[in-house]
Amino acid sequence: MRPTNTRNPDYFHKVVDCQWACPAHTPVPAYIRLIAQGRYSDAYMLNRDSNVFPGILGRVCDRPCEPACRRGRLEEEPVAICRLKRVAADHRGDITDSLPKKPAKTNGKRIALIGAGPASFTVANDLAPLGYECTIFEKLSEPGGLMRSNIPAFRLPEQVLSEELGYILDMGVELKLGHSVDSMDALLEEGWDAVFVGTGAPRGKDLNLPGRWDTKDEDNKDSENIHIGIDWLESVAFEHTKKIGKNVLIIGVGNTAMDCCRTSLRLGAKNVKVMARKPREFFKASVWELEDAEEENIEIIVNHSPKSFVIKDGKLTGMVFELLEYEIDAGGKIISQKVTGETTIPCDDVILAIGQDNAFPWIEETSGIKLDKWQVPEVDEATFESTRKGVFFGGDAAFGPKNIIWAVEHGHQAAISIHKHCQGKMLTGRLPNEVEMAPTKMGMFEWRYSNSYDDAARRKMTHVELTKRFADLDVEVELGFTAEQIATEVERCLNCDIQTVFEASLCEECDACIDICPVECLAMTPDAEDEDQLRASLSASENIEGQALYVSDALPLTGRVMIKDEDVCLHCGLCAERCPTAAWDMKESLIQIHYADEQDGGQKRGLGT
């Protein structure tokens, strides 16, 4: 086989499972090391470069990094990456001096950003310091998008949100609140140099079942006891809704449902049931959100499919459900379902939390922006440009509902495009990622990182006691990590960015590295045509996660090759410690991902930690 080209920036990047899985490619192990050293402000700033909102994301990120984390392949639980991000935010000092500044002079280019969610804020964060005049239009009275209107304060305190949005507004970004953009054509006529649409996916799905429209209250208007989840959460957030009935049913079992049920408890509900159509293994909600809800005694009922609303005298009194039974195959797929009965569950309120759609009633066909029949715009996946030049989309508005960290990444990419567009450059001529390797050896058996394996289990976040948490809507449930928890959790990270680097010409084929490796991921073997043949000589190869197999150049003595299964390597450095000739070395891979300011001759940021 061809020897592995480790100079390809993606090669080592992929080995850092968390960073690879993070949509914004946050350099996780590097910031965890900074936390271990007590350098919280540096850890915060390193985070901020890629994910912009460490305090917010340290609480509510969807954390795709955690299921990907290498530690989770070794034992049950991954590193508490998200919690450690919050540690950096909680313990940072005053970092205002390190933030990008409002420039002395603007460059005269005017950018309109529609919607004050994380996507628009990221674009502003990247462009304002370069001199762009950014104006954000928001129809609500507060900025933040769904982070303000939907994510409840008991998960994300308002002050955390405001502070991080404030950093960006302080770069000279103009915010127009209570300003709904109702016509794209009209906006385009105002002559903006570029327009960014970050309006999210604002339409909550309804459930058109018998009885849905039969409720009436005294003045014969539609009753307020059947709610659309995201609208209801918004109305709670802005204090229009302050109470709810005793018995509440939540329809759907995604993350919105989890926020709805927990919010209901805080508005006085006593008995909240989350109604799921399918068995637990098919739930959309994150495991931790389910756990947090169940800790609050929310009942989750499976295999119940809503059939109709029960209305008596114009008032909602319950819901009828069909009882379902599923046949599931060995691979965990549903192959058939059948109805085995029916049941009526009484309730005072129903909250529908079954998904969101895009909606752009304010974008006219004449604008040249193409939407498909589901109202999803046609957007380039790399440049985020729509079918109209100079109009860009990002966040939930671009490809449907995702999450905050994706909105941030879209924002970074759109900012690069807008910067290029305004200078008349090709949008596709973006700086490619690069990788730099930095030595970590400090002496005999001494490295610049904590390489010894620590078998501690994941630390558990402490929560406010159940008796205290429902008093107010904004009592933050999670208390943050204690000093002991921080000290233990940082050591659980395996430092996957400290890479094993091999120099074939130095190897004398003594096998010492192979024997010392505690997870048996190395082997020397005659070269073969394909990877499977080579893998056969690894005693513990699994490759369930699709990690690469490293193949060295031919070894000098026998012409065999050294191979390494990147999937199970612990980055413990024992191979490098054991090698008599230093053929193995441990080097830190710095993945350089470039932002708008670095493009087209801008100063590159570098990533030295």
Binding site: R73, L74, E75, E76, M444, F445, S452, Y453, D455, E508, E509, C510, D511, A512, I514, D515, I516, P518, V519, E520, S539, A540, E542, I544, L557, T558, V568, L570, C572, L574, E577, R578, C579, P580, T581
Partner: protein, 351 residues
């Protein structure tokens, strides 16, 4: 010397053997040998062999003498029995232990110094008695532990690290074993585990004395230019001639092979050893042929390796000496020690 330990890490989805143990359950303490030492590779291969054979660690006994090689019994099978004897005396201690309990798996680890100088007499007599053990001689051509003096295995013309040339003829443990009655005689190389691992497995399953002379370079004192036991020299003249696979009784039906390519040898436990890569007509059951082959290859610098001789027919010490079959620790005390009166009676018979 090292200042770190190899952590014992149990991963999820780790392969286990028939006993439910993982490979690392067969490891021992962290090796204190020089990084790159051939002995460490042999240690790791022995651990893997016990793992793959699913031998319960407490049913294995490790015995050794003195030397870097002899130290290695500490570095595998941490839950087994073991004894480091005095220099060169491992064979007698092993013989005694086997007489007391022949139901355990015995592995002796020694060096060329330990076996071919001070321990030569003991070594030869254990082979002569066909003691049922696997004897792994880790051969680096020097006394590693005492800093690199030539051993009796050093070849004529091989140089020491500082330039001295050896002029004495070497003792070849393999020829010696063939001439005194060992019933499983092999040579291996620490750098070729594909060959060594099945050899160790086969040797452990063979009934009678098994010798594997393993070329195992000493990185600190005998890995220089001019040495005939260096990695470079061994790789250069290495000839993996006869490959032996051990096939346990349970797996026999599965594998089939074309006649002529493979020569099966039935073992006492019902399993068999399958010999591959045989050169035209060579039969490792023929002792004269083995001696001839060895002599022939000795004319060139070639290092012939593999299972050179096997004999499953000779009685082992236990059988030959008509020893008690039950391990001594399972015999009731009264029977084991019938008392002074019985002793007197016995002594009478010798008067």
């Amino acid at each position: 010397m090292t200042s770190f330990v190899k952590p014992f890490i149990r991963r999820k989805n780790e392969p286990t053997n028939a006993l439910g143990l993982v490979r690392a359950d067969y490891d021992g303490a962290m090796s204190t040998l020089c990084a790159g030492c051939g002995h460490d590779a042999v240690t790791a291969t022995m651990a893997r062999a016990f793992f793959e054979l699913s031998i319960e660690p407490h049913k294995a006994v490790k015995v050794s003498g003195i030397g870097c090689s002899s130290k290695t019994t500490a570095y595998f099978l941490r839950d087994s029995h073991g004894i480091n004897t005095v220099h060169g005396r491992m064979p007698s201690v092993a013989t005694g232990a086997i007489a007391a309990n022949h139901e355990l798996a015995y592995i002796g680890v020694s060096g060329d110094g330990d076996s071919l100088s001070i321990g030569l007499g003991q070594f030869v007599h254990a082979m002569r008695r066909n003691v049922n053990m696997l004897y792994v001689l880790e051969n680096n051509g020097v006394y590693g532990l005492t800093k690199g003096q030539f051993s009796a295995a050093a070849d004529i013309g091989s140089t020491a690290k500082k330039g001295a040339v050896n002029e004495l003829p070497p003792i070849d443990p393999v020829s010696l074993a063939l001439s005194v009655g060992a019933t499983f005689v092999a040579r291996g190389f620490s750098g070729d585990r594909d060959q060594l691992l099945p050899l160790i497995k086969a040797g452990l399953k063979h009934k009678g004395f098994g010798l594997i002379d393993v070329i195992s370079p000493c990185v600190s004192f005998n890995d220089h230019k001019g040495s005939t036991k260096s990695y470079a020299h061994t790789y250069k003249y290495y000839n993996p001639a006869i490959h032996a696979d051990y096939v346990p009784p349970s797996e026999q039906i599965k594998a089939d092979y074309a006649a002529g390519e493979v020569m099966p040898v039935k073992l006492h436990d019902g399993g068999e050893i399958r010999l591959r890569k045989l050169e035209n007509g060579y039969d490792p059951r023929d002792r004269a042929a083995a001696i001839g082959k060895l002599f022939e290859s000795g004319q060139s610098q070639e290092i012939i390796t593999g299972l050179l001789y096997i004999n499953e027919n000779d009685k082992d010490m236990h059988e030959m000496a008509r020893m008690e079959d039950r391990p001594l620790n399972q015999i009731p005390y009264d029977e084991l020690n019938p008392g002074a009166a019985k002793l007197k009676e016995l002594q009478k018979g010798f008067r």
